[in-house]
Amino acid sequence: MTERCRHCGEPAGPSPIRVATDGGAALFCCAGCHAAWTWITAAGLARYYRQREAGQPVSVDTERFSDFALPDVAAHYVAEADDGSATVSLHIGGMRCAACVWLLEKVAEQTAGVLSCDVSFATHRAIVRFDPTTIDLAGVLHALARPGFQPEPVVPGELSNAQTNERRHALRRLAVAALFGMQTMMLAFALYLGDAYGMTDATRTLLEFASMVCTLPVIAYAGAPFFRGAWRGLVERQPGMDLPVALALTVAFTTSVLATFSIGTTVYYDSVAMFVLLLTGSRFLELAARHRAEDGVAALARMLPDAVDRLNPDGSVERIARRELRSGDRIRVRTGDTLPVDGRIVSGQLGVDEALLSGESRPLPRSVGESVCAGAGVAAGSATLVVERTGASTTLAEVGRLLERAGHQRATTRAFADRLASVFVVAVVLVAALAATVWSQIDAARIVPVTLAVLIVACPCALALATPTALSAAATRLARDGLLLSGAGLLERFRPGMTLLTDKTGTLTNGRPVLSATHALAGVSATHCRAIAAALEAESEHPLARAFVPFAAGVSLDAPADVRVGEGVCGTIDGVEYRLGRASFVAAIAGCEPAQTANAESRVYLGRANEWLASFDVCDALRADAPASVAALRQAGIKVVIASGDSPTAVAVAARELGVHDWHANLSPANKLELLANLHAAGESVVMLGDGVNDAPVLAAADASIAMGGGTALARANADAILVGDTLTPLATLADVSRRTRWIVRQSAAWAIAYNGLAVTAAALGLITPWMAAIGMSASSLLVVSNALRLRRATADRSSELTVLAERTV
């Protein structure tokens, strides 16, 4: 195992800095990391290293912080209070656990000029109040970025305010349902005991009256959304699950009130209260998931730089806020910038990294007259652009809209489930009506109790518990393996016969190029060739250059290397000119090209005057566990399809190694959505696995989705599950756990339906007294819960083997 830097977690390299500490020697890859470590430990914050996830690389782009020193830019984000203090809302990137909150607050506390800092882990937001005379916005950002976080100012917008309000109201409803519901249950318990042991009518009336008072806020306040939803469903002629809920609540509550005033026999206040509590609880969890997704869309806009260099007509360069750019303005961009707008190059040339938009992992050369998109990174070169489109009309904004549309598409699938539910609703109502009609012939006094029994038993506790308990047990089990589940759809979809659509770069592969082979073509040793190549690429920003970094060994250039975008680099060592890059570029000095062999994903050549020295095969290696995981998935009956934005050669190599026959290369996000639509049209159930922004629309539109933990926040926000720890092995576990979950849900549901079927028949025949029903219901719920807990066991048990058999035969 290579030794890693104590601070940043990257390999420490050939000449690390060694420092003796209490816990043995610590290694650092560079002086910067050493300084950061020294600062953190000296500030008494060494716990940070113990709390953070092991090996999490830290890379913070602090350069753009200076943009926030511009008054125009800062004014957009900072709100000044009357007492002279200023407040800014920040989105904190890189927060992984609650310990980060602690670290951020401590760091802020120790920064001169910061008055207060409130960090919320749930929203990844920080609200910082500072004294503008001591520290400016850029200073605050620098302070918070020091431990390795990526703070981004956000406009204290309507979105987050609306979310906070919505959340607080949902919490209020939950509290009302829980507190009053508990009280109702206690009174109900007394009523049940009264049924068993006898109770005076006066006491009964008192208890019933108290129950009514307790249930009133539950139904009127906590249950209000269900009535609103039911009404909307009726108006739009598409009744959803809200309708039977509202119906059952109305019937049960009205009957109970009538019974309380002696026009009936039985009260159902406890059923009403518990029903509302359970439903409000599950709606609250849904709300949290939806808010995370909304944050993801907002994240797109944060990717663009806030300030740009505008080239004025008089030739001067002025740094201005991005929002002030108008189409037709000229701007300057350099290596390392992110393009703020869509534009056309008027002078200079660029190597642009469009991985964000297309998934293409290599920079593409762009020269005068060609267009470039907002959100793309400048990997090499510098140029002057004329601004064509800004803000909402850019290609990046288009991706955002694709994403929203994809979200709506999924909502349509859900609406289909709702339509199915409305069929169920109509059936339940019909059965209840039938029972009422039949009983009106037999015994008119029992119409109401019987009808109610049918309506209430249609949504019983055990059946309601079967799915959520199994899901939460499965989620716990999967989290232990490194798969964080946020949506239930995944467990339902991940079954034999479905298609796993997967991205390549950064998902199946590590997303980092490595040198896979060196072919020495002349008398110079392979090791020396690599050292020369490393020296040439030392200053390069090209992604492939990183493959050579580990081989730097004492060779230095006479002068900085000359980078030619799309060609290669050239430089001189000891007076001899060397070229590294495409064959044609090297051939210009080395003579005719050597014979090429296929199969290499990317091949670069090294040569000097009249001599070819070596060729290097650079590839983005597959994750070590990718072949085994794909094989395990195939064994579980899952089809794997690769959809990549990368070049066909690169994808073909990966597909061959994995044994995947169905692969697609050169896909844009729109192409990927098209591919998904084709799969859907063929009747396939599709789960998407991806990591980048270019995957985000597909992640949102697929039936279910999994994002890589190392991927972009946007991809994570749209996924039903997140793979942490950058390994694919949990996918095999997922196949097993989802199978067992479905089996257990089916078992529990079958039990609950059988129990309720018996109970409703017995109740309809007048064989069951309330206290018997209460005990039966509790026992039934307990059985369902303990059945679900079996999922938390580490190893697959016999039930899973049975499921395999069951699912194969179906």
Binding site: G44, A98, A99, K106, A122, A175, L179, T203, A210, P217
Partner: protein, 52 residues
């Protein structure tokens, strides 16, 4: 059982106070972040620096 005439209204009163307290807390942002606060209390600062 006439004690119930006192106890039930009393329970309802306490319930009302509890709900009012919860509303107040929710509106003051006490429940905006349910994850960090649970862990924060477990994290101490390191030993004060610069002391032997």
């Amino acid at each position: 059982m006439s004690i119930l005439l006192l106890l039930i209204p009393l329970a309802l009163l306490l319930l009302g106070i509890a709900v009012a307290a919860f509303f107040w807390a929710a509106d003051n942002g006490q429940f905006d972040d349910l994850e960090a606060e649970a862990v924060r209390i477990l994290l101490d600062d390191d030993e004060p620096v610069g002391r032997d």
